[in-house]
Symmetry: C2
Subunit: 352 residues, 2 copies
Amino acid sequence: MTRLLTAVLTCSTALIGLAPAVLADDLRETAEALFKPLPSTIPAVKDNPITEEKIELGKALFFDPRLSASGVFSCNSCHNLATGGDDNLETSIGHGWQKGPRNSPTVLNAVLNEAQFWDGRADDLKAQAKGPIQAGVEMANTPDNVVATLTSMPQYVAWFEAAFPDEADPVTFDNMAKAIEAYEATLITPAPFDAYLNGNDDALDADAKAGLALFVDKGCAACHSGVNVGGHGYYPFGLIEKPGAEVLPEGDKGRFAVTETVDDEYVFRASPLRNVSVTAPYFHSGKVWDLKVAVQIMAESQLGEELSDEEADQLVAFLHSLTGEMPEVVYPVLPPETATTPRPTDEIMPAN
Amino acid sequence: MTRLLTAVLTCSTALIGLAPAVLADDLRETAEALFKPLPSTIPAVKDNPITEEKIELGKALFFDPRLSASGVFSCNSCHNLATGGDDNLETSIGHGWQKGPRNSPTVLNAVLNEAQFWDGRADDLKAQAKGPIQAGVEMANTPDNVVATLTSMPQYVAWFEAAFPDEADPVTFDNMAKAIEAYEATLITPAPFDAYLNGNDDALDADAKAGLALFVDKGCAACHSGVNVGGHGYYPFGLIEKPGAEVLPEGDKGRFAVTETVDDEYVFRASPLRNVSVTAPYFHSGKVWDLKVAVQIMAESQLGEELSDEEADQLVAFLHSLTGEMPEVVYPVLPPETATTPRPTDEIMPAN
């Protein structure tokens, strides 16, 4: 972060008082130093070689509501690929109509985040995938029941065998998570900002460029940088000024729950900002629906900046340039249940 | 029905005591008289010319969870195109974790049913589509809120304008239903049985052919006939012998609720049987998961027949030949909300 901050400060200084033509060149140089365009191929992930077979299996699993105890929720329920990879709810609704504690983050480009969840408690998507499936307020299932469900369907067994050809017993909860990670790694959405970073000056209009300059100049890019314009590093929400309890509920202490370190109270992973314009509502609390308001809150709470109306609009214009193109998703046809498939249950189990 | 019954009885007589070769020819003739292969083009529907624009709009609407008050349920939640066009639950779970009264029927080929719902209370799919969206235990929305939601998104407005080019005010609840009907009309799934009806004798194996002969001979085809092997005509569940209350709950009097005629107590539309092998659980109560058991219950309750184990297996083999191929469904990218989009609510409204 220190290196980034230095970069930001250097850039900010460089931006002041330059003629527009020079500014344009500088802006590109600054942007190239702080951000990275999306890769043109599927990113590699740790300990999980990605194959076509694994991707196809992972897609089926991602869309299969039978991974939940009730048979109602799939990964796609809260990370809906039709609506920006999230669910457009304050916090997700899960098993028994229970509400999750935090806003559902987008799955799009999530493979490029340094860690997963708002508090970064999962190192990668294969670790992440196991969370909601077992969470009592989300899919409320157990690894044993998931494996029994998948094993009961011969087509799934064949798909696991094809995806994990060297394993004697491929239908496992771990392999389920690996396949889901492999599929999610394909969900990369190149945006106008990538075209700009790749050298196309016309990919951003004047407002978006002005917004990009402000994004760097005001200091937003100190936390929201890299390929996902965020998604790495942990920062207190309310660095300069704590937002109200409506936006930052007192009960959710963020990364403190992971590290149990006082310094981590109300600390969250910097949100990745790709596709932010189509993934309202905002913040871990999901309390803010308007992107411009979210930008204003961030400027005040993190940077102590009161933005002018024009500045806020320009920042929003830049954020719109992060809205990418979805890969084509052919909806899967899932294997039918058999006599031995565990039946769905809508009952709410008491917490252990 | 009388004409069909006569046909069935004639066929049954003809089938007895014939040599296998003759039987094969007769079976084809009988089948061609009782059933119809799926059309090779999208079926026309009443008062709703189908265009590409309408289909595309309808697909977006079909998959859009924002048609529900909570933002959680889309048409596809209960009529999931990944799992045979239904949800594999006894009865669907909807708004507020409420359970619907009857098993969700498949949307696949539903356009070819004579009427919609288990009791036939909707004449067609455009009438049907309006039901669950407004049902308090399903999507719990109102027409006004749906129209406000759709109108708030410029992309939807443009899509409605393209789908209904001659209308001054195209974004209406009625047009939403028409677009959904147009999309659903494309969900036609040709099956091995269609190949057989179209002249390919090898499309059914020996067991499936024996099952088809039994299906006609025992009288199943008296109710389950036509292009959807059912989906038209109303019959009492328990014509000969009422199944137990577990399968036929006393509180659900079927079509009686529509016609208020005593004769219609426990009367239901004959189920269309296409894709029945992938749409467990069975009956309006959804209480039976095993297709063979469902076949045995039907034989006893409707025909007074105790099937041998082999007969039941052969009937199931025939029913498997009704499992069709899904059209390729490219998952839609839906328009993002705007500042004026009504917000989702998970509250359960009191019934009027």
